[in-house]
């Protein structure tokens, strides 16, 4: 599949030159995952360039979440190769702790259910991993946390507990928590599905800002306007396979397969 190069807004960090070559930053090759006899992902291939935003859409149960979790090895695939930047992990060989750390240090993840730690304040949610994983001092970590909270519009919530925040606020805090670790790629698993439409909008606007700033993103979503207008590529999944893949507008406006057309029609009628 030919990759489209975006020229604007992809010079991110020191690995930016990658975007100018034809080498993708995230590359999934022949990812296969089964639970017992149930095969959830079959030979999935996908790639994302540095600064690229890929939306993954598809019907429930098609394996979107599983695919995302295979990228950071929360769910190790049975087979296939995951490459993120200079880290390559092969599914059939045992993974070293070092590789796993290197892989995860490049990936931030945002969950549908936020998964903030309810016994810690908002600030501590964001500083904990900075201190324990990156070894930052608490002063450094707090400074960065406050900058990020300001960026997502929630500086006044620093001392609160997550349960005192609305769902939309919690999700923005979760985004700040992931960003605090300087990820190269952000993975989003239906970040707005648990939210009322209005609250979803405030999360989407943070994500749009993130995309514009050049962050590489892989977003599982049901928000078609995000897929069409913010992401540059879209993949449609069904039954553990990539049904269609290509530049957003083309895929969404002119799907090739009958199955993809059926899915998009169902989404549009909702």
């Amino acid at each position: 599949m030919p990759q489209q190069l975006r020229v604007v807004g992809q010079h991110v960090g020191k690995e930016a030159p990658l975007a100018l070559t034809n080498k993708p930053y995230v590359k999934l090759e022949q990812i296969t995952k089964s639970y017992g006899a149930h095969t959830v992902l079959r030979d999935v291939n996908l790639s994302v360039h540095s600064g690229g935003v890929l939306a993954i859409i598809g019907p429930s149960g098609s394996g979107k979440s599983t695919l995302l979790r295979c990228i950071n090895y929360i769910e190790p695939p049975n087979k296939g190769i995951v490459t993120v930047g200079d880290v390559t992990i092969e599914g059939e060989t045992p993974v070293s702790r070092r590789d796993l750390r290197a892989l995860r240090s490049k990936l931030g993840m945002v969950f549908q259910s936020f998964n903030l730690f309810p016994h810690l304040t908002v600030l501590r949610n964001i500083t904990l991993a900075q201190e324990r994983v990156l070894g930052r001092t608490s002063a450094e970590a707090e400074l960065i946390a406050m900058q990020l909270l300001t960026r997502v519009g929630l500086a006044d919530k620093a001392a609160q507990y997550p349960s005192r925040c609305s769902g939309g606020q919690q999700q923005r805090i979760a985004i700040a928590r992931a960003l605090a670790l300087d990820p190269k790629v952000m993975l989003f698993d239906e970040p707005t599905s648990a939210l009322d439409p209005e609250l979803g909008l405030e999360v989407l606007s943070v994500m749009r800002e993130l995309a514009t700033s050049g962050m590489t993103m892989i977003v599982v979503t049901h928000e078609m306007s995000f897929a069409e207008n913010v992401s540059d590529h879209v993949a449609i999944m069904a039954d553990g396979c990539i049904l269609e893949y290509g530049p957003s507008r083309e895929v969404i406006r002119n799907p090739q397969s009958a199955r993809a057309r059926q899915f998009l029609r169902a989404v549009n009628e909702r």
Binding site: I74, R104, S113, F117, P118, R177
Partner: protein
């Protein structure tokens, strides 16, 4: 009432108090020692039965099954009378601490495991996604939440351990019941002496039960929050 008192006078009661008090203190001491051994053991066992290392897991499972399967009285007898014949003589206090600590560890491991299991799976995923080590995940995320859930049940179990310390009467530990029984033997006021000892148990267990329901209430409020 008089029939129950068997003619014991107020002076009789007051003359027993020093002995009963020292027995009571010893009961508390053996309870605290058992909990100090048993609760950390319970935590270790809760983690141990979930580990992937087969040998460690097998050992932990055996410790839990024996500790839960054997009545505390049998453990007590086994350790106090059985181990010396295997060349390991122990004082009654140490035997009691090991036996009750073992029993406590076995039972509380289940309580603690249930608490840890109550932490949503998503939090464990978030721990992994953030790159936190397993140890850090436990220490900062899973244990603080899981133990908070377990606290009311653990407090409740601690009351049971205090009551079970009366079993040490069978291994000649001069705790509260032994003292009461001794008074009975000397004065034949068995019932009044045991009843007075009972009041000491009540004096601890009733407020402790109230504390447990208060903490339970608080924990419930926390879960809702």
């Amino acid at each position: 009432m008089n029939a129950l008192l068997q003619g014991a006078t107020w002076d009789d009661f007051t003359s027993w108090l020093p002995d009963l008090w020292s027995g009571f203190v010893l009961s508390i001491e053996v309870t605290i020692a058992s909990l100090a051994v048993g609760l950390p053991l319970g935590l270790a066992l809760a983690l141990g039965v979930q580990t992937k290392a087969m040998l460690l897991r097998g050992i932990c499972l055996a410790v839990v099954e024996i500790g839960r399967g054997a009545p505390a009285l049998v453990l007590l007898q086994f350790i106090y009378f059985g181990l010396p014949s295997a060349g390991l003589p122990l004082t009654s206090f140490v035997s009691a601490t090991i036996a009750l600590g073992w029993s406590t560890g076995a039972y509380t491991s289940e309580i603690i495991r249930a608490g840890l299991d109550s932490v949503p799976g998503g939090h464990k995923e978030a721990v992994s996604a953030l790159g936190l080590s397993r140890m850090d995940g436990l220490r900062y995320v899973i244990l603080p939440q899981g133990l908070r859930v377990a606290v009311p049940a653990l407090l409740g179990f601690s009351i049971l351990v205090f009551q079970a310390s009366s079993l040490c009467f069978t291994i000649a530990l001069p705790e509260l019941i032994s003292r009461a029984y001794e008074i009975g033997t000397n004065t034949f006021f068995y019932f009044p002496a045991l009843a007075t000892a009972g009041l000491f148990y009540v004096a601890i267990c009733m407020p402790a039960s109230f504390l447990v329901s208060y903490v339970e209430h608080r924990a419930g409020a926390y879960a809702v929050r």
